[in-house]
């Protein structure tokens, strides 16, 4: 057996199994088969006693067939036998050799024919692996093309949404913008009280041990609250968007909460270190005003608690109107989140009205109540509050220009740079940021493929617009209509569809819960209008000495219209229970439970449009806490 020594497997190799040892072993097995075969072919030729030219033809042809050893042996036997027959018949060796033709061509034909004789299982296997190879090669070529496209392009950021937004804000005259005044007031406010108060702020009742200290703080802040109340009368918030933090303001805010010197320095460092790109992405726009405005609203709310305690109706009315004014300003913000904060502040204003009417019904004059009612009725906008999604459309437009190329016709493809940006956006939903796809091999490998999975720019924009329009149309319907439609929420269905989610990932991660936003507007609208009814009833009581038996008794100038219950499409319900008025919606069970609020758990559950709970949604007086 002519196995080269170097290729023989040496069982004494101590390192086996190693890759080298394994290769040696395999090579030895393969070579052993081939070497043995050649010995056998040589034997066949020798047995046929063929002259050198014919022996060479047999050897070369047999070898060139590259068939299995047994097949090659068979071919060699047959060719040798053939030549032997020819020689014995007296045909010269040269003639036989010439007649044979080209050995390579013959070997090819023989190989093709011999392989057809192989077992069906082998034939199937051959087709399968050839198919797999072709498939892999095709995929490889496609992957190469995808990779080229993925890395060759780069996003074309043409619109500066940041500047566009700021241009709108700054176009409003300074005297109409409230934020500069709010900022001035907050800068001048005294330092905040300790955590024992701030942890409960502003829900500190008069019988709370901390009330005196908390009241002292708010008393010290009254000059600044006067500035806030005056600014609340301005039509717009007008908070300029910032590329970096407002260092002076943030440092003062840190000082007010008695931050450590290190923490204050950290704020300064942030301001210094933060880069200020010319065209910052809208998703990362700093909206510090939102949180600060909520802080002002809380200050006003606690000042109301103190004012009610002190019997200062004028301050209570001023505070409520200021909260309404702030809600109005926020409700007109360009961003959805700003508008929702406006709704939340309006909800606070409504609660302040109801609390005042319940706890200190005689505190406010008719004139103050009427003024508050007029302010409420047009707060944000008359009629139903509807969120404006133009800011969301703008955010999506900005996102798309940062992840896709631009072919000039509204279409484009995902790029390496865009993928990195998209992952950054997705990371915002995680506590620990996801690794950049550019920093990992897997990211580089998957990127080009994901670029093909992800919808193109035009398709993405179209799907976003379609979903937004459809969901807005659906969400705009009254609750009773939406509840009757079991298939109303296409977004809810789509986000659970893994194919859709992968194809339209940017939509999935950025599309707001539109249904909830709209419902929030409808809910606050009812609360706002119910507060107006409560004021009308209170004024009626003062004039007649008794609560109205029904809302139709309340004169039209006091109550221009009765709000509609979104759960029934009919007027909200009113009745006297033990001589006291109760204004209520049926709640999501659409059933009149006599003005009984839901028993147990969160009373707000009756406001859900997805989970039905027995009980009514009491709009006035304030629902009792469990």
């Amino acid at each position: 057996m002519n196995v080269p020594q170097a290729l023989r497997f040496d069982p004494s190799l101590k390192s086996f199994p190693t890759m080298r040892g394994l290769c040696n072993a395999l090579l030895a097995v393969v070579t052993l088969g081939r070497s043995g075969l050649m010995d056998r072919v040589q034997g066949v030729i020798a047995q046929a006693d063929l002259p050198a030219p014919l022996a060479d033809i047999v050897l070369r042809t047999t070898r060139a067939t590259r068939l299995w050893p047994s097949e090659q042996h068979d071919v060699a036997r047959e060719l040798a036998s053939h030549f032997r027959e020819g020689l014995d018949a007296g045909v010269p060796a040269d003639t036989l050799a010439a007649n044979f033709g080209d050995a390579q061509v013959s070997a090819g034909l023989i190989r093709r024919a011999a392989r057809r004789k192989r077992p069906a299982a082998w034939q199937v296997w051959t087709v399968v692996w050839k198919g797999v190879v072709v498939l892999l090669l095709t995929l490889l070529v496609l992957y190469g093309v995808f990779t080229l496209r993925y890395y060759a392009g780069s996003p074309s950021i043409k619109r500066n949404f940041f500047n566009e937004l700021n241009a709108k804000i700054l176009a409003t005259p300074a005297e109409q913008r409230a934020w500069p005044e709010y900022r001035r007031a907050m800068m001048a406010m005294p330092d905040l009280p300790g955590d024992e108060i701030m942890n409960e702020w502003p829900a500190i009742s008069v019988d709370d041990p901390q009330f005196v200290n908390a009241a002292a703080y708010i008393k010290a802040a009254r000059p600044q609250l006067d500035i806030v109340r005056a600014a609340a009368e301005r039509p717009v918030l007008g908070a300029e968007l910032l590329r970096t933090i407002d260092e002076e303001f943030e440092v003062r805010m840190a000082e007010r909460r008695r931050a450590t010197p290190a923490a204050i320095q950290a704020v300064r460092d942030t301001a210094v270190n933060e880069q200020a790109p010319e065209n910052p992405d809208t998703i990362g726009i700093l909206l510090p005003a939102l949180g600060r405005i909520r802080g002002l609203e809380r200050d006003l709310r606690f000042d109301n608690t103190v004012a009610r305690h002190e019997g200062d109706g004028e301050r209570v009315a001023a505070n409520i109107e200021a909260i309404i004014g702030i809600a109005h300003q926020m409700g007109h913000e360009e961003t959805l989140i700003g508008q929702l904060v406006g709704y939340a502040i309006l909800h606070v204003a409504v609660n302040e009205v109801k609390t005042t009417l319940t706890e200190t019904p005689e505190l406010l004059t008719d004139g103050q109540l009427s003024s508050i009612a007029h302010g409420l009725a047009v707060c944000i906008e008359p009629g139903e509050l509807v969120v404006d999604m133009s800011g969301e459309r703008m955010f999506m437009g900005d996102l798309l220009q940062r992840i896709y190329t631009d072919d000039g016709n509204g279409d484009g493809r995902l790029t390496d740079e865009g993928m990195d940006y998209l992952m950054g956006v997705i990371s915002m939903g995680f506590e620990t940021p996801l690794p950049s796809p550019r920093s990992t091999a897997a990211g580089h490998a998957v990127g080009p493929v994901f670029g093909q999975v992800l919808a193109g720019r035009k398709d993405m924009q179209r799907e976003y617009n379609r979903l937004l329009d459809q969901t807005i149309a659906d969400a705009s319907r009254p609750a009773y209509e939406r509840m009757a439609d079991a298939n109303r929420d296409e977004i809810e269905r789509l986000v659970h569809d893994s194919i859709w989610s992968a194809r339209y990932l940017p939509i999935k991660v950025t599309l707001p819960a539109i249904g909830k936003c709209y419902w929030s507007g409808q809910r606050v609208t009812l609360e706002r209008d119910a507060a107006c009814v409560a004021i009308a009833c209170e004024i009626y009581r003062r004039r007649t000495g008794a609560w109205p038996q029904s809302l139709s008794e309340v004169p039209r100038p006091l109550l221009p219209r009765v709000p509609v219950d979104p759960f029934t499409g009919k007027e909200v319900l009113y009745r006297l229970v033990n001589g006291a008025p109760v204004l209520y919606s049926t709640g999501n069970d659409q059933d009149d439970d006599g003005g009984t609020q839901v028993v147990g758990g969160d009373p707000g559950r009756v406001q859900s449009i997805s989970v039905i709970v027995d009980g009514d949604w009491v709009l006035w007086p304030m629902p009792k806490k469990e």
């Binding site: 034909l109 023989i110 024919a113």
Partner: protein
């Protein structure tokens, strides 16, 4: 080059024509008895006056193909002279195929003759 006379068949058949005729000819030769490769070559060359003279490079792939289709089967046998030969014989399937192909070829030859092709060789080839 001097053109061949119209009545004389060409010495070699074009590959395309041979592709259909070769297997049928081999099957026909094996109809009566089993034969080995060299014997088949010689027999074909003699009986067709060289028209269907198959070289080894054509014959053996042809035989392997017929074997793969199970129209023929092969066995190694030792002749009286002590020489090893691989004999091919027709299978039942091969007999059926031969019958079918013969019919088709007859129809084809008849058709060709009807338009004046090969009329002078009618009945001479087989």
């Amino acid at each position: 080059m001097k053109p061949a006379p119209a009545s004389t068949p060409p010495a070699r058949i074009e590959t395309e024509l041979l592709r259909g005729a070769g297997p049928l000819a081999v099957l026909k030769l094996l109809e009566r008895r089993q034969m080995y490769g060299y014997e088949l070559v010689e027999s074909l060359a003699q009986r067709t006056q060289g028209v269907l003279a198959l070289g080894q490079s054509t014959l053996y792939p042809l035989l392997y193909n017929l074997e793969a289709k199970e129209l023929i089967e092969a066995t190694w046998e030792t002749s009286d002279s002590g020489r090893e030969r691989k004999y091919y014989r027709l299978t039942t399937k091969g007999k059926k195929r031969l019958a079918e192909d013969e019919k088709q070829w007859s129809a084809l030859v008849g058709a060709m003759q009807s338009i004046g092709i090969g009329a002078s060789f009618a009945g001479g080839a087989a």
